[in-house]
Amino acid sequence: MNVFDLDLANHKSKEVKFFSGRPRGEKVRESIFLGKKEDMVEEVRVKVPTGTRSIHTSFFLGLFGPSVRKCGSGEKFLEKFKFDCEEIINKDVDEGIVLALKKSNVLKEK
């Protein structure tokens, strides 16, 4: 099975315990070519560093928003993107998925 591993620890400074900002999320997405990689693999494993307090909705939309829209639904997105994280982060992921699926300019696609 083709899998792509995405470790978010590589994309933040050590002292910071949250991920925020849409531009930062978009930058990470571009740097790892997530848009192309997700089409080539069957599964994307996302590792969220231990101790992370929150993945802000803005960051989630920047990094995963286009992927959510591509999948078309939250269920399909979660089938493809497996999040290895604490329970509190799952809430942030769910909230991010809901906002990403809204047909509005909350999500600005590049």
Binding site: S20, R53, S54, S58, K102
Partner: protein, 253 residues
């Protein structure tokens, strides 16, 4: 109160009135002109008989000239033949009909726009804002009580001493509470707004995301450097902007 369109309509009605008055005056003067025709015919025959003096009388039945001289030789240039007054009268009548049609059609479009605006305003004012006033108040209260709780806990920690682990847990709990308030605001208020006003819902969601991005860094400071006032002023300015967005949107309707 007086829109540009209404001003133009009023101006047009004024000109119509003037035009009609002018038409009536021309009709009246053409009646006078008809009486004068008869008088002049008598005079002509008298002069022919008497051969007293030459009068420069323009033939009223065949001539196209509009001028005519009286006994004193003054040209009464404003007395036109009756056919000219009839033509002007018909032109004004046709013009009146077009104006009435135009006023009716413009008014009909305005009525449709006004109706649509009234429905939107009703939904926004009565259904969205009025019925969700309590929800909005609760959102503000929850945010304020959450930060006050955090500020108090930090103050107590500063005095009595708190372990790094406990302080870390406090920050995590406050973050989680904040995220819960944000999610509740979206489910109970913003999603309802979105059903009728998607643009406003976008703005409100963006506002909450900006608040979240500003809120977390203020928590992630050492115990010694923590400043509760920063949190308070952040929430206060968020409230103002939230209300301003709601009010500003209503003005657009």
């Amino acid at each position: 109160m007086f829109s540009k369109k209404n001003n133009y309509i009023a101006l047009l009605c004024f000109f119509l009135f003037i035009g009609n008055a002018a038409s009536q005056s021309i009709k009246k003067s053409s009646k006078v002109s008809a009486e004068n025709k008869a008088n002049l015919k008598d005079k002509e025959s008298q002069l022919e008989q008497a051969s007293m003096k030459e009068v420069d009388v323009v033939s009223r039945f065949n001539s196209t000239r509009l001028s005519l001289k009286d006994d004193a030789g003054v040209i009464r240039w404003w007395e036109a033949k009756s056919v000219y007054s009839k033509v002007i009268d018909w032109i004004l009548k046709v013009f009146n009909i077009f104006i009435l049609l135009w006023i009716y059609l413009v008014g009909r479009n305005d009525r449709k726009t006004d109706l649509k605006r009234n429905v939107e305003s009703y939904w926004y004012q009565d259904v969205v804002l009025k019925s969700n006033h309590e929800t909005m108040s609760k959102i503000y209260d929850d945010l304020e009580s959450m930060i006050e709780k955090h500020i108090v806990a930090v103050s107590v920690g500063k005095v009595s001493g708190v372990t790094a682990v406990d302080y870390d847990k406090l920050i995590t709990d406050t973050n989680v509470n904040f995220n819960d308030v944000k999610t509740t605001a979206r489910k109970k208020f913003i999603d309802i707004v979105e059903a009728v006003h998607p643009d406003l819902a976008d703005d409100l969601n963006n506002l909450f995301m900006d608040l979240q991005d500003s809120f977390s860094p203020l928590l992630e400071v050492t115990l010694a450097n923590f400043d509760g006032e920063d949190l308070r002023s952040l929430i206060s300015s968020f409230k103002s902007e939230f209300i301003s967005k709601l009010y500003g949107y209503h003005k657009k309707i």
